[in-house]
Structures are given as structure tokens and as C-alpha cells.
Symmetry: C2
Subunit: 158 residues, 2 copies
């Protein structure tokens, strides 16, 4: 396996995770749990659609590192807003359009889950209700996307 | 959380994982590692494109349970065959078209990884080279897709 395809621990310094979340309290939870699990990563918080698109297009234009993962809240504050943003991100040029998008939502509604997959999310995670469960979810997220899976263009993230 | 959305252990009995792999020795490895990790699941092996499509359309037509995950080898034996099958599966009616497709390949070629994501895989895993590493990969796969993520239409699999 080429080192360029699997991220050695030393290369992760400065890699980012983009968190799109309109609720500041939820963000505080997510930030704390990310810091406990993705220790070498910098979480980037954007609270709305406009700043999310701005951040991602800046990555392209001014050569910022692409986020390794995108964590997307569905209800921003309506689910239609989350879905619209999802479709916008998926329509951006590769490799941005291919980034794993993990939807985090308090909703366990069947339609929310199905329609989110139809519109291009990679996975749907129902938001945990306590801090230890957040940490456990993010630990699994890390073991899966960092230690097990190979993503395209890994040189863009690290 | 509704029980229907998260698979309780008791509901997994009889759930399946579809493995599309043209190499019998690789299949033997995969089968053994799946049995060690996805203990309640039945791995279904198909060695070629035709049987894969037949199996999936039978799921629709005669009401077989959908596989919970699809593990797809890329070189069948050419990568173009794997990609064509991938696109065929993604064009099937939902929820089959939305199933997580995990590509397993010995190739760590950057183009193989990028083009597989472009054509719709969910994740790309470079095949481990020894049995303990297979078990570790599948253990992570299970913790992620079964214990952390919610999939659409879970009643179809269990």
C-alpha cells in the first residue's frame, strides 16, 4: 500500500473536518467529541448554507486543504435547506463533490433517512443523546474512514 | 429511536451480505472473515456480473430480503467489468439502487480509487493481505454500518 493512499498519523496534522450545524449548543458537543477522537484534526464550524458553500469554494479557489469528512446537520432549520445544500455540494467539481458527507440529525423519521440517501449522503447517523455516545460514534467514524477506507485524492486533505 | 430503524440483534437473523468476487480463494477468505464478524448474517456469493444482477432483480421480483451491504470486487477480471456492474446496480430502483456498495480490491491505484467513487461506490477498501487484518476490517465495517449508521428501509433487510 502506498503511503500516499493511507494517511500516516504524522500526515494528519492540519487535516480538517467541516461541521455544518446551525445550533451552537450542538456544535459545542460535536467539537468536544471530535477533539476527543480526531485529535490531529481541526474541526471547522459553519452555521449556515452560505458559509458552507463559501468555505468549500474557497478550498478550490485559494487552495485550502479539503476537509476529510463533512458532517452535515439536516434541519438548518428546515430539512429542505439541508437537502438543498447537500445537492449543491454534490454538484461541485471533484474531488469536493465526492467527499464523504455524514448526515447527523436528531430525526429518526424514515422519510428523512430515505430522502437523504436519495439526495447523495454517504451515511445517516441519528445524533446521540449523551456525550459518551457521541464519542463512541466518532470513534467508529474514525476507525472506518481513516483506518479502513481509502479516499480519492488523499494528498488534498493532509 | 424506532426499533425499525436500528437493527436489534434479534432481527439480524437471516439478513444477508452480497459478495461479488470472481476469485474462489478470495471468497473463501472473505466468507471466513464475515462468519467471524457478521455472525448473524448469511453471506451470499456470486462470482460474476450476470449472477449479481440476477440475484438483485430476484430480490425485487420474488421478495427476497435485500442484502444489507454489497461487497464488490473491482477486477472481474477487468476493472471495466466491475465499474459497469456498479453503474448497473446504482441504476436499479430504490432501495436497491441505494444499498451501500463497499469496493474491495487488491489495487491501491489512485485512478482505481477515484474512478470508483465517481461511479458511485460508498467506500473503497484495499484488500487486507492476511486473515487477522480481514477480520479487523470487517469488524470496523460492522460497527460502522450496523451499530452507528441508519440505512433506509431497514425492514427490507431483516
Amino acid at each position: 500500500m502506498h503511503q500516499s493512499e493511507k494517511a500516516g498519523k504524522g500526515h494528519r496534522k492540519g487535516a480538517t473536518i467541516l461541521v455544518i450545524e446551525d445550533n451552537k449548543d450542538q456544535w459545542a458537543f460535536i467539537q468536544r467529541a471530535l477533539e476527543a477522537t480526531f485529535a490531529d484534526f481541526k474541526p471547522i464550524w459553519v452555521p449556515n448554507v452560505q458559509q458552507a458553500i463559501e468555505y468549500l469554494t474557497d478550498c478550490q479557489k485559494i487552495g485550502l486543504r479539503l476537509p476529510y469528512l463533512i458532517l452535515l446537520d439536516l434541519y438548518l432549520p428546515e430539512r429542505e435547506v439541508g437537502w438543498q445544500l447537500l445537492e449543491q455540494i454534490r454538484s461541485l467539481d471533484d474531488p469536493i463533490g465526492q467527499l464523504p458527507i455524514i448526515l447527523l440529525s436528531s430525526s429518526d423519521d424514515k422519510d428523512d433517512i430515505t430522502h437523504s440517501y436519495e439526495r447523495g449522503i454517504t451515511s445517516y447517523i441519528i445524533k446521540p443523546t449523551n456525550y459518551p455516545a457521541w464519542v463512541e460514534s466518532f470513534q467508529t467514524l474514525k476507525e472506518y474512514w481513516l483506518d479502513t477506507v481509502s479516499l480519492p485524492g488523499s494528498s488534498s486533505y493532509f
